[in-house]
Structures are given as C-alpha cells and as structure tokens.
C-alpha cells in the first residue's frame, strides 16, 4: 500500500502498478493452474488408455499457451472498446502486454521440466536441465504469438505461434536444452518487436508497423525452416543417433555398460561384466574395450560375444561388430546402409541361436521433408551369411510408443522359431521369414 498526495488530496491504495499486477493475477491464475495441472491430470488417463502420456500433456500445454497468448493479448489493458480510453503510458502497456503475462507460461514450463523426469521414457532427463529449457520454449511461443496477435489478428497468430513451436521442436523434449539460446533470442526479439509495435501504434503507424513485424517474422521463419533443412541434411547423411543404453542378460549372467574417461566425456568404451555363482563364491569377469565414438551394444550373441553397432558421423553405413570379450578382439560381421535417413536405435534383439539380429529403428521425426513413412523400421540381419534386410517400415508398434526400450534384463519382443520369427505384441501379429528377411502381418 502506498499513500501519495495528488493535487492536494491524499490518495491511498496500491499504485497503478499494483492494480495492473492485481488484474494480471486475477486473469492469469486459472490458465496457470490448468497449465500446471494438465500433465498431472492427463497422466492417469493416458496410463489407463495407452498412448504417450508425456507428449500428450506437452502438446496440450503448447496449445494452451498459444491460445492464452492470443486471448490475453487481445483483451489486454488497451484492448477493444473503452479499454482503449484508459490513459496507459507506453512502458507499462508494453510491460503488461508480454513481459509480465509471459511469467505464466514460464512457470508452467518450469513445472513441466520438473515433471518430465517422472515419466519412464524421460528418466534420464534432469529437472535442472529441463526446467529452463521448457520455460524458454513456452515463453518463446507465447511471445511470438502475442506479438502476432497484437499486430495482426488471432488467425495469423495461431499460424505463426503454432507453426514455429511445432517446426522448431516436433515433440522431442530431449532436444529442448540445445535450443535454449534460440528460444532466448526469440523472446528478446519478440519483446523488441512488441516495443516497436507499441511505438508505431501510438503514432497510428499501423501499416508500417505491420509490415515491419511481418518482415521480422519472415526472417524468424528461416530458423525453423533452416533447422528442418539441417535435420534433413543430417538425415540424408544417414548418421545413426545413438541413445546409449546398457545391455543386461540373465541368460548369460552378463551385462555390458558404457564407461567414460570423465564425467562429461562421451562414452568411449564398453565394459563387459560376467557374474557366475559357484557355490558360495561369486566369480566375476570384467573386460573393457575401446570403441571410440558413436556405438551401441545391440545384444549378446552368446555369453562371451557381444554385438555392437557403430556409425561415425557422416557415414552412411552401419557397422555391426562382434566383440569377443574373452580374447578382447573385434571383427566386423557386416556393414550395410540402413537408409538415407537418420535412425534412432530403439530396440535390438538376438535370436537364441545367435544367428539373427533384429532391431527396430525410428526415423528422425525432425525433418518435415523426409519421405519415408512414420513409425518404426524393422531390420533383420543374418549374421552368418551375412546379409541384412529391412523387413517392415512404418510399424506403429504399440509396445515402443513410450520411448526407447527400457534397458532392462532380457528385453524381448520376438518369438523365435525355425526359419520364422513372430512379433507377438503386434496387432495383428507380424511374421518374419528369416530366409527372405521379409515380414507379413498375420491378417493378410
């Protein structure tokens, strides 16, 4: 509370700023509560009915942020009708158009960043890294949408804000921290653009103001388009993007884990650990091998032979390497080109006889220009002949929607029989002919 003397009269009460903040709180608390509550509310539903719970909540929060930005901007302190008659100076007007209201999506983003790690698929993400990333991402979307809604109307604001948010981050929360600088730049740019728009509006320079903002937005469009192009080029290079997952097997009583030279170094070697119980004694065998970079253990061919996938940046071929842990030697079993597009290792499995390697990969979702179907590609590798073939594309495998296969013990999606392999969790069941390396759905 402040007391001031104006024109000889005492005026008691919060200042103009206090009133504007009060109004802001009264208008923002509900969308803020919804934004924070959405991930929590949607989770049990999606857990019950299947689907991708976190990405659903994430999508809902993005939609809410964009819609709120538009609504909030168009009903701002100098919105339509009599509100325009309020004598609000330029600075407070600017301040309460974006910088103050943007706190709601910022808080929502922080909460989302805290929650993301509680979903199994995103356990490796740390809250400290994701909180600012989510906050900046939502703030950038809000700011862009608000500027567009100020200078134009709701429809272009939806197109601009929604398009930008989807193009820059096609539902890959794990990539958000890398884009934080871009988001921060967009926020600053939007604040400057809003300031320029306020100045233009005050002088009734609507047309020049709109042209200026349209030009700025056109430049901004280069970012997502450029990123899409960059992803596309990266995809075309065929680089396999590894998500380092350790491997464990109860059958062979062994595990393979990554080891790093330093805490912040990328993994450079694999460590094999074999545990064998003999009476009351536990016998351990440990072997370590340097693989350099960009490798991923794919499975145990038997207790002492580990299959490793490796692909260096820029390479279009994938190397399947067999590591004999007893002799600590490696040899290349097969190299093949998994596709023109970037691949994510999602799941791999070796047949019990050690002859076939099955692995599911996911095409990069980053590029809008990619031409292969959505979903997962199923590769089958005959390690004896050796040969490799893509058995199926575009598999919308329900079992893997929640993210990379949990690096648990004995991950298995396949039922192996002589000359045949069945993916029983598919609906309909998928049959793989191991002779031709082709698959068919069992309803066909």
């Amino acid at each position: 509370m402040v007391t001031v003397r104006i024109q000889g009269r005492r005026q008691t009460g919060p200042s103009l700023w206090g009133r504007l903040l009060w109004k802001e709180w009264r208008e923002d608390w509900l969308p803020l509560a919804i934004g924070v509550g959405l991930p929590l509310l949607s989770r049990p539903l999606w857990d019950q009915y299947g689907g991708s719970p976190f990405l659903s909540a994430y999508f809902l929060v993005i939609c809410l942020t964009l819609l709120w930005a538009i609504y909030r901007t168009q009903t701002a302190i100098t919105g339509a009708g009599a509100r325009t008659i309020l004598p609000v100076p330029g600075f407070p007007h600017w301040l309460f158009t974006i910088p103050v209201p943007i706190m709601a999506p910022a808080i929502t983003g922080v909460v989302l960043g805290v929650l993301v790690g509680t979903w199994p698929a995103f356990q490796e993400m740390t809250a400290s890294g994701m909180m600012p990333a989510f906050a900046l991402y939502l703030m950038a979307g809000y700011a862009l949408c608000a500027v567009a809604a100020s200078a134009f109307t709701a429809f272009p604001a939806v197109l601009i804000g929604g398009g930008w948010m989807i193009l820059t981050n096609p539902f890959r929360p794990e990539d958000l921290p890398q884009q934080s600088v871009l988001f921060a730049l967009v926020i600053v740019g939007a604040l400057l653009a809003q300031g320029a728009w306020e100045a233009c509006s005050a002088r009734r320079w609507f047309l020049p103001g709109r042209i200026g903002i349209a030009v700025a937005l056109a430049w901004l469009a280069l970012f997502p388009l450029g990123m899409a192009q960059m992803f596309h080029r990266g995809d075309a290079g065929g680089q396999w993007r590894f998500s380092p997952s350790p491997l464990r097997s109860s059958l062979h009583q062994a595990s393979v884990t990554f080891s790093m030279a330093g805490k912040t170094s990328p993994p450079s070697s694999l460590e094999y650990l074999h545990n064998m119980s003999s009476g009351s004694h536990n016998v351990s065998f440990v072997q370590e091998h340097q693989f350099g970079q960009f490798f991923q253990p794919l499975g145990f061919r038997d207790a002492t032979h580990v299959l490793v996938g490796q692909q260096q940046p820029g390479e279009s071929v994938l190397h399947i390497i067999e590591w004999d842990v007893t002799a600590d030697t490696v040899h290349e079993v097969i190299t093949f080109t998994p596709g023109r597009y970037a691949l994510y290792h999602w799941h791999s499995e070796v047949s019990p006889d050690g002859r076939y390697l099955l692995f599911l990969t996911n095409s990069s979702p980053s590029s809008l220009m990619r031409k292969i179907p959505l979903g997962y590609d199923l590769w089958v590798v005959d390690l004896v002949e050796p040969r490799a073939g893509i058995a199926a594309v575009g598999m919308m495998t329900r079992s893997f929607h929640d993210g990379p296969y949990d690096p648990g013990i004995d991950p298995s999606i396949a039922q192996w029989e002589t000359g045949r392999c069945y993916l029983l969790e598919e609906d309909p069941i998928v049959e793989i002919d191991l002779t031709t390396l082709r698959s068919r759905r069992m309803d066909q």
């Binding site: 104006i6 103009l16 009133r19 109004k23 919105g79 009599a82 309020l86 609000v88 002088r203």
Partner: protein, 297 residues
C-alpha cells in the same frame, strides 16, 4: 471564445468513402454541445479521431488545446469518454472496476465516485457481466466522470436504453457536469431528447458539418412560414430566400426557412403573400428539415 474542441478540415476516408469530410468544428468551453446526425453521418468517426482512437486522413484536431495525435495520453487523462456499448472487464465487480480505473487518474475523487454510485443506484458487489445495458452505461459514466474531466464526451450514450432510463441518464449527466461548469460534448440521433439538455447544436450530414450554432439561435433562424396567396403560387421554393422545404396546398404554402430574419416578412410580401404566420420549430423538425429524408429521421 474559448473552445475545448477545435477541428480544421478534419477528414477521414475509408477507401473511397469519406466518413468525415472537412469537418470544421468549434465547441465552446462550458457548453452542453449536441453533435447530431443520422446513423452513419460520421459522428462516431469524428469522435474517435478526437481521441485518437482512429487515425485521421487529413486536417487537424485539438482537444483542450492539445493535439489529438501527439498529446493523446494527456487528452485521455483529462477527457471523460462514454461510448456506445462500452466494453469493460466483465469479470470485475462494480467496486473492483472503480478501484482499478482509479489508478489511472490523478484527479480521481473517491467521494464523488461514491456519491455517483449511490445516485446511479449501482451495487458494488455486482459483476459487470451481470449488469443490464443501462447499468453498464451508468457505470461507464461513473468511470468517466469520477476523475472530474474538463470535458465529457458521450458517443450515443443512450443507444439501446429504454425511454425512462435514457431520460434519467441524460438529465443526470447534464446536471452533474454542469454543476461545475464543465463541458459536455455528446452525439446522438435521438434528437427530441437532446433539445431539453443541449445549449449548442452541431449537425453533421454525410461527414460534413451543415450547421453549428447555439440552440436558441438555431431555433430563431429556422422557422416554419405559413403563407397565404391570392392565387396558387408557383416556383416558391426557388424564390423564397433560404427555403429548405416548401409544401403548396391550393392558395396556401408551408415553408421552412433556414435563415429567418426581420426581412423575411417583407420578402414574403414581395412574393405576393397576403398573410404570413411564423411558427417555431422543435429541434427535431429543424434537424429533419436540414438533413432531409424525414421519413428516415
């Protein structure tokens, strides 16, 4: 004479349409100025340009001696405005709305606002969205007057209100504002209600100001003449000076003239009239005669 509003050749074009066409207006300080015109005559457009809510195409406008474009913030601080269908934060209560708006004006008078709230029978705890149209207009009026503006601009403030509310509203406004000799500038197309409260009248038609004068002067100038002739008169409309309309029935003619003066009876006699009756007109009759199209007025 000191003028609170002055426009010179104020023009607003929307594409090829001239909504306001070279408006030259001068509103004397302390007057209750009625800005009259038919629907679409350009009243609201002109007012919005005065407050810089709308960009002008050409000309100048000064309000309280301030430039309407460059000093818009100061004008908004010193001018009260009530528009047609005024939008407010409908989630606020009446008291919250009053409290919120208070922060924007240095001259806000709490006692006056409280008195107005009581006088206008507004319930403080009622949400704005729950108010009737008439009550919303009253609240808008309270918000526009509580900081004691030097000039109150009302743009069709009574549109949509019933007759009783309309009359109470207008009389209440005038009574309140005139107590301190402030200026009221209000637009309306409901002419007969304006006559009771206005002392100055400006009439706009097709974006042009066709008459601007004190009400009494206007009523003294625009008269209805009933002329009696020996024979049926011909070409009277062209021959009678200042005739706005002429209606001939047999030997009798009824004419409305726009500039009645002491010389008018002599002019009538010169046209052959043997008898002349001069009748006063209501403001509504004057308005209809000036802007034409009586069936639409």
């Amino acid at each position: 004479m000191d003028h609170v509003i002055e426009t010179k050749n104020l023009t607003k074009r929307f594409g090829r349409t001239r909504a306001v066409d070279g408006l030259n207006l001068a509103v004397p300080r302390g007057s209750v100025f009625a800005f009259l015109g038919r629907n679409g005559a350009g009243k609201t457009t002109a007012i919005r340009m005065l407050l810089h809510l709308l960009d002008k195409t050409a000309g100048t406008a000064r309000v309280l001696g301030l430039d309407s474009v460059h000093d818009t913030l100061e004008i908004k601080r010193r001018v009260g405005f009530v528009g047609d269908g005024q939008l407010m934060y409908d989630w606020m209560t009446v008291d919250e709305m009053i409290w919120f708006c208070k922060g924007f004006y240095q001259g806000w008078n709490d006692a006056f606002a409280a008195e107005m709230k009581k006088r206008l029978e507004l319930q403080g705890k009622t949400k704005v969205r729950a108010l009737s149209r008439g009550q919303q207009a009253k609240l808008a009026l309270l918000l526009a007057m509580a900081y004691r503006p030097e000039l109150l601009i009302l743009d069709e403030p009574t549109t949509g209100l019933d007759v009783v509310v309309r009359r109470n509203f207008l009389e209440g406004v005038i009574e309140l504002i005139q107590e301190e000799g402030r200026t009221v500038f209000f637009s309306s197309h409901i002419v007969h209600e304006v006559e009771r409260v206005a002392d100055w009248v400006g009439i706009i038609d097709n974006g042009r100001l066709i008459r601007c004068a004190p009400l009494e002067e206007l009523k003294a100038q625009v008269k209805r003449l009933v002329l009696t002739f020996e024979t049926t008169p011909a070409g009277l409309a062209k021959r009678l000076p200042g005739a706005l309309s002429v209606n001939v029935t047999g030997r009798q003619a009824t004419a409305i003239v726009s500039d009645f003066s002491d010389g008018t009876p002599a002019a009538a006699r010169a046209l052959g009239s043997s008898r002349l009756e001069v009748e006063d007109l209501s403001l509504e009759d004057i308005f209809v005669a000036l802007v034409g199209h009586p069936e639409e007025a």
